[in-house]
């Protein structure tokens, strides 16, 4: 799980172009949206694309996103359970 969390942090930094942010700067238990990293709705779309592209996970219900994108750890757990690649 820790390996996946690190990989996910690196992917998030790259896809969201989080300049000057290093994986260690991201608290895997902190909120991704609002507080914490302060991501917004466009970032949510980018994360949906990332999940499908890199892990083969297609979010059918957009409402799921609210729960899945709670933190990097929650996202990593969801990916570990549902990934197809």
């Amino acid at each position: 799980m820790e390996k996946l969390i690190l990989k996910l942090k690196e992917e998030i930094i790259e896809v969201l172009n989080l300049q000057d942010v290093k994986p260690a700067d991201i608290d895997e238990n902190a909120a991704l949206f609002g507080e914490g990293l302060g991501l917004d709705s466009i970032d949510a779309l980018e994360l949906i694309v990332l999940m499908e592209k890199n892990y083969g996970i297609k979010l059918k219900d957009p409402a799921q996103g609210k729960e899945i994108f709670k933190s990097v750890r929650v996202l990593a757990e969801y990916i570990a359970e549902n990934r197809t690649k």
Binding site: V15, L16, N17, L18, Q19, I42, E46, V49, E52, K53
Partner: protein, 342 residues
């Protein structure tokens, strides 16, 4: 009665020193046929969170616009009008590239959203929280002049009920980036990179126009005119002789000869100035021509490297009163901007 219109502030990021008039005394010279703009250190101007979604052209446009607004003391202009030949071409390329590579699936939203021409003007408005008139002109080589003419015409008119008090201040922008891939395409199309042609450059210019002159105003805009179709119609503003004509010569004979022939036809022995030798060629380069002419008027002098006809170098002691900026695009669209000192 029509209003007087002044250019109070101009800010630029180009192949010359960014956000500076330093080029006027010491222009950067290039031997290459394709030169990217000199970007300032954006970390000084944007937070990482602000900058992360902005491509090159958006950073440049936002920065020159912010600086022009700050310098002029106009935080909320009555109009934001932008000219761009190619729009956000870098983001468009990324978006199209992914579209092809990934079989039209899984496209990143950011590049798609920021790949349109009007992204630039709207981003400037969102940043300034400005809900006033906002328009983009994407008309290849005359995009800037279209934007300038829109502002000029709206500002010339006195307020009427339909104009809700009229346009008294307008932020006019001209923005174009040049990617390596697009340069290659334009080179194949013989628009850029030809033998003896000036280098291909990039443009980011923002100027604040106002009906009120500020202490540091650059110049007054006397007239803006566009003529379509090989200059068969004589522009009204050419009835009087200007002191100088700033033309868009670029080293290609068929382009430059249009200027030489038309200037000889319209005027008698008015010395010609150039600017593309300093700023390069791009669809919105004429904005840099207007900037160069405006700076000459503000300083009351013309550097030798802008003077085309060597006979006039250093010998012209007449006081500088006005400069006509004349550009054409493929000898179809001819544009004229007459500037005078203040």
């Amino acid at each position: 009665m029509t209003n007087s219109i002044y250019i109070n502030t101009i800010k630029q990021i180009s192949v010359q020193q960014p956000l500076s008039d330093e080029w006027f005394d010491a222009p950067v010279q290039y031997a290459d046929n394709y030169v990217r703009a000199i970007d300032p250190d954006y970390k000084q101007y944007f937070t990482p969170n602000e900058a992360r979604r902005l491509g090159k052209i958006l950073k440049r446009a936002l920065l020159v616009s912010r600086e022009a607004m700050k310098d002029s003391g106009v935080a909320n202009p009555d109009a934001i009008i932008t000219g761009t030949g190619l729009g956000c071409i870098e983001n468009t390329e990324i978006f199209l590239d992914k579209l092809v590579r990934e079989g039209e699936e899984l496209l990143n939203p950011t590049h798609f959203m920021q790949s349109t021409h009007n992204t630039i003007s709207s981003l400037v408005a969102i940043d300034a929280k400005c809900h006033n008139y906002n328009t983009t002109y994407a008309h290849k080589g005359i995009s800037f002049e279209c934007a300038l003419q829109d502002a000029f015409l709206q500002m010339s008119l006195p307020p009427t009920p339909s104009t809700r008090g009229g346009v008294k201040t307008a932020l006019v922008g001209a923005h174009d980036e040049m990617t390596p891939a697009y340069f290659t395409l334009l080179q194949k199309g013989e628009y850029l990179g030809r033998e003896n042609q000036v280098f291909a450059g990039e443009t980011a210019v923002a100027m604040m126009l106002s009906t009120e002159k500020t202490e540091n105003a650059y110049c007054k805009i006397e007239a803006v005119e566009k003529v379509y179709g090989g200059l068969r119609v004589k522009p009204a503003m050419t009835d009087n002789q200007p002191d100088y004509i700033m033309v868009g010569t670029n080293g290609v004979a068929e382009n430059d000869n249009v200027y030489f022939e038309n200037c000889a036809k319209l005027f008698s022995n008015v010395p010609l100035l150039q600017y593309k030798n300093v700023f390069g060629e791009s669809y919105t380069a004429p904005a840099l021509g207007v900037y160069a002419a405006a700076l000459c008027l503000k300083k009351g002098k013309i550097p030798d490297f802008l003077i085309l006809d060597t006979r006039h170098k250093t010998q012209d002691t007449r006081p500088l009163r006005n400069i006509l900026c004349y550009n054409h695009f493929e000898n179809k669209n001819h544009t004229f901007v007459l500037l005078s000192n203040v």
